[in-house]
């Protein structure tokens, strides 16, 4: 196990290296000049050039990348071009809120998706099944901004059941997490339904039922555990995706997550902040996938890692 984890750690460093390299060079291909964005409208050409020199943007790009990596290994993520404060501080200020929304969002996705999908699989072909499936598609097709705005308008503004966006208590996270749950729950419902149906149809399940084991026990013990395999993959993927920021939901609900930070940074080409967000996102994606990989053997003992 230790060897496996050590191996994964080494691979993660390589991936991180690859991501930063690609992103860095892509940012320099962008036809945008951070120095001009900072200098603003009335700046003279000399001012823009001086700012560019101060930021080190006039040096050759590979050299800039090496300098970036040299600082990165020391834990220095640089300073934001626009705000001048440390990128590390900016990211830390958003981390807790992003993680909180991630956990709550995945929670709602599972809460809405799994029971619905299981029910649909058990009552396959019935009206309930069809309704749940339409509901799943509706949730996925519904644009998040509109859903969020509607929820806020009805539940928070009109009926006053929830605060009108913001961050703080448990009440604040319910609506944004619910919006994420609607958008993602459909995937979980569909996936667990189809993999459950698959498993229920397989021969060994039929054999077990033929032996006389009651249906409920069969479902819970054998079928569900196997059907959860792709679900675990999806949760791992969601951890990574959500930690990279969900800008639409964050914008509507005023949630101080990393998504809003990334969006603003991209508009003004604030390279250190963009790089910082990409690194955080990459780390979260790898952590999420690692978690999923570690859980697989518990669901299917036949999966082994050499």
């Amino acid at each position: 196990m230790i060897r496996y984890l050590a191996g994964r750690f080494a691979q993660s460093c390589l991936v991180l290296f690859g991501v930063t390299l690609l992103t860095f060079f892509l940012l320099f291909i962008l036809p945008a000049d951070p120095a001009r964005m900072i200098a603003g409208r009335s700046a003279t050409i000399e001012t823009v050039n001086r700012i560019r020199a101060e930021l080190g943007l006039d040096r050759p790009v590979p050299l800039q990348y090496l300098q970036y990596v040299a600082r990165l290994v020391r834990g220095d993520l640089g300073r934001s071009y626009a705000q001048k404060i440390e990128v590390r501080d900016l990211l830390l200020s958003r981390l807790a809120a992003t993680a909180y929304l991630m956990v709550a969002g995945i929670g709602f996705e599972l809460l809405l998706g799994i029971p619905a999908g299981v029910l649909a699989a058990l009552r396959r072909g019935s009206t309930a099944d069809r309704l749940i499936m339409v509901g799943a598609f509706a949730g996925v097709s519904a644009p998040q901004f509109a859903v969020g705005l509607l929820l806020l308008y009805v539940l928070a503004f009109r009926w006053g059941l929830f605060p009108l966006g913001g961050y703080g208590s448990f009440a604040h996270v319910i609506l944004p997490a619910f919006t994420l749950g609607i958008a993602g729950g459909g995937w979980y419902a569909r996936m667990i339904r189809s993999s459950l149906v698959d498993v229920l149809d397989q021969d060994y399940v039929r054999t077990a039922r033929g032996k006389g084991l009651p249906r409920g026990k069969v479902v819970l013990k054998h079928a569900l555990r196997n059907a959860l395999l792709p679900i675990v993959s999806m949760v791992g993927l969601d951890i990574g995706t959500f930690m990279g920021g969900v800008v639409v939901v964050e914008s509507v609900f005023g949630w101080p997550g990393i998504g809003q930070l990334a969006w603003q940074a991209i508009q003004i080409v604030d390279i250190p902040v963009i790089m910082g967000v990409v690194i955080v996102s990459a780390l979260a994606i790898m952590a999420g996938n690692l978690l999923a990989d570690l859980i697989y053997p518990f669901l299917d003992p036949r999966i082994r890692y050499e």
Binding site: G40, T47, I85, L90, L164, Q267
Partner: protein, 535 residues
Amino acid sequence: MRSRLWVLLLIFPLWLSLVPTAPAQSGGSIVVTFKDDVSTLDPAIGYDWQNWSIIKSIFDGLMDYAPGTTKLVPHLAESYSVSKDGRTYTFKLRKGVKFHNGREVVAQDFKYTLERVLNPKTQSPGAGFYGGIQGAEAFASGKAKEVSGIKVVDKYTLQITLTKPNAAFLHTMALNFAHVVPKEEVEKAGADFGHKPVGTGAFKLKEWVLGQRVVLVRNPDYFIKGRPLVDEIVFQVGVDPNVALLRLQRGEVDILGDGIPPARFVQIMQDPQWRKLVEVGDQLHTGYVTINTRMKPLSDVRVRRAMNMAIDKERIIRIINGRAIPAVQILPPLMTGYDKTYKGYPYDPAGAKKLLAEAGYPNGFSTVLYANNTDPNPRIAQAIQQDLAKIGIKVELKTLAQSTVIEAGGKGEAPLIWSGGMAWIADYPDPNDFYWPILSCASAAPGGWNWAWYCNKELEKLAEEADALVQPGQEAERAERFRKIFRAIMQDAPWIPIFHEKRYTMHSARVGGAKGIFVDPIHIPVHYDEVRVVK
């Protein structure tokens, strides 16, 4: 004798309490919402319309504007005088003004502040405004250790000498970049000064939770007695404008920092309950399309005039729900030098087609229009696209991120650019701010903001001469000269002026203030020092 003295001593404080003091400050706390995070509160660096007014409440400069107006008045300077040749300004400072850390402000602080702005290490966007000070160039390029043109005559007297007279110089002394900062605090905080600002202003920074809120609290030692009028301002960031409006309607928010969201504008203005909470005013703003005068066929002035005649400005204003007035010239109505009698180019698509044919394009031609992709700019761009199509000009639309459009403009690659989202709101209320950065030969260079690449050497000379009229009493003459300059520019039609946006500020019923502070042309959205809680 003693007992009478005692009695007097006892009565005296009672009597004092009956005397009315200065206008009562209302106290209280107000909430302002913004979508974007406050980027920085360092006056040398902050240059977006969001932090501009907040910085004005934490810092002060030598000059300022009377609240609600564009009238320039001395602020931290008690008085000033201009030399006969118009190149030397002498400022006498107010005594007893204190920084938030308790130290008194002296002339040396202003020298430090301006040199800090000119120092390339600070990366200040405003360095260009002070390049006209003698010795500024030498200092900025590292050849000199200080700016020779800024002299500390004595503890409370500052003298600034320019290389040539500039009638807008006093306006530049009112810009945030010239707001005084304490050297010891800047050195202590280093690059973090923008998040730990220490100034002389009506408010002090109390708390800043990144990504959530900035809280300002009253400065009890502010040099203007009776200001500010509230005890605390809480800026909540990350709030979507539509949600901010809902919160204001529920009484949780006092001022919408980003204004009324376009999606709800009409409903608000038609509902009397909410309409009375909206103040309307003018801005120093023009929205325009720049025409690249160096690209064929746009280099032909007849083509540019035809394009001016093809745009239905009233329809475009309807698309933005009537929030603007049509523009026929470059300067906005509030600006000195605005020409009330100028009619500009009429809306005349038939005449436009004729003019195009005269220029040799009876069947029109193809070109590209760049625009910012934030609402409502793509819609306005599509409306322009349709209007030009009616006279035969096939426009391909590129709606891109702001930084990309700016880059294309600065490189000279863009034939047409709609300025929305990047439009010109004046840095200061003087006409030369509409000339030098965006229409002068000096700015028609790679990286400049003169996206029309317009360069008229004669007009350049006239503008320089007009800027030399610095003596009091010459304002009318200067205004007339700039009127002529801008009229001449419109003859060349490097722009299509479309509209001047009006300001709509919505506030809750519990706040109020003197007339005009909610549509103060310099302080957007409101003049924070002048707003008070009325309920």
